[in-house]
């Protein structure tokens, strides 16, 4: 028998090895375990409920909330600082150019001969 035909017969034997096989029996007490699982899943609101109560998800949500809070506080602090600077510079401008006052630079009278 040649090598090729030997290989072919081996391959055919493998391909036909499932012919006439018996159906595997489900394990004992499958229904009992199924009932237990269904009670657990339905109590927890199903897979979505279980997913939502996972520690990883809870920690991630907590981290997101913390970051959002920190960002908001930081933004508010920056805004306060910016408005303080604006007030301060406004006061300087007001002191230099008082309302209703005489501005020496534009005092045309003093330029007259």
């Amino acid at each position: 028998m040649s090598i090729d035909s030997n290989n072919n017969s081996r391959i055919d034997a493998v391909l036909n090895s499932l012919d006439g096989m018996q159906r595997a029996k489900a394990p004992d007490f499958l229904y009992t375990r199924l009932q237990g699982r269904m009670e657990r899943e339905f109590d927890q609101g199903g897979p979505i409920g279980r997913w939502l109560t996972r520690p990883v998800l809870a920690l991630t949500i907590a981290a997101i909330i913390l970051i959002a809070n920190a960002t908001t506080v930081l933004k508010m602090w920056r805004q306060n600082t910016a408005s303080a600077i604006n007030t301060e510079s406004g006061q300087v401008v007001a002191a230099e150019y008082p309302a209703g006052g005489v501005y020496p630079v534009y005092n045309e009278n003093s330029l007259e001969p």
Binding site: I3, N6, N7, R10, I11, A13, V14, L15, S17, L18, D19, G20, M21, Q22, R23, A24, K25, A26, P27, L30, Y31, R33, L34, R37, M38, E41
Partner: protein, 194 residues
């Protein structure tokens, strides 16, 4: 109790009907799942998921196909989902093993031995299951349903919602691919045969 009565009672939430459904279909579901996921614990897990799905969505069963066809469809979908999830976990385990204290891979696969295969064919069947695992999903499902559940082309077509000619084509390509994989296997394992 005929199929129609069983469905009506299931829709009414009858626990006895559900128990009867599980008793009638548990071997079908388990064997189909086992053929696809190739692991007894995973197959039981899939079987449980299938019956939970049936319980939840019995109202969506229109009755245009046989109940067994619908259950086969749910089983193959759940089994494929299970394989995808297992592959994701395996990839994650591989990444964690790179940073872990030892370099061993978790969930190292072992040859699957189907309990329904005759003793003198166990070794060949284990090799065939290893090759089936490498087939594309639709070929894997068609081939497994044909071999492990001995479904006809028409029944496979109903389960997979394809035409009979599409199933014929899938099974033809599955056989071709398996033959190529086996040729490669024997060339690598018996170098003198080259």
């Amino acid at each position: 109790m005929n199929e129609l009565e069983l469905i009506q009672q299931l829709r009414a939430g009858d626990e006895g009907a559900f128990k009867s459904l599980v008793a009638n279909y548990q071997d079908l579901v388990y064997n189909t799942a086992l053929g696809i996921v190739q692991n007894s614990e995973d197959a039981e897990d899939v079987a449980q998921e299938v019956f939970i799905q049936v319980y939840r969505s019995i109202d969506q069963f229109k009755g245009d196909a046989r109940l067994s066809t619908w259950i086969y469809r749910i089983t193959t979908t759940k089994a494929l989902d299970h394989i995808r999830s297992r592959k994701r976990k395996k990839r994650f385990a591989f990444i964690t093993s790179l940073f872990g204290p030892n370099d061993e891979l978790v969930h190292e696969p072992v040859d699957f031995q189907h309990p329904g295969v005759a003793l003198d064919r166990k070794e060949q069947a284990a090799l065939l299951f290893r090759m089936i695992e490498q087939l594309p999903e639709n070929q894997k499902v068609a081939f497994t349903l044909h071999k492990t559940e001995e479904l006809s082309y028409q029944e496979i077509a109903d389960v997979m919602q394809l035409s009979v000619s599409a199933v014929e084509s899938l099974l033809f390509r599955a056989r071709q691919n398996l033959r190529k994989l086996l040729e490669k296997y024997y060339q690598q394992n018996n170098p003198q045969d080259k």
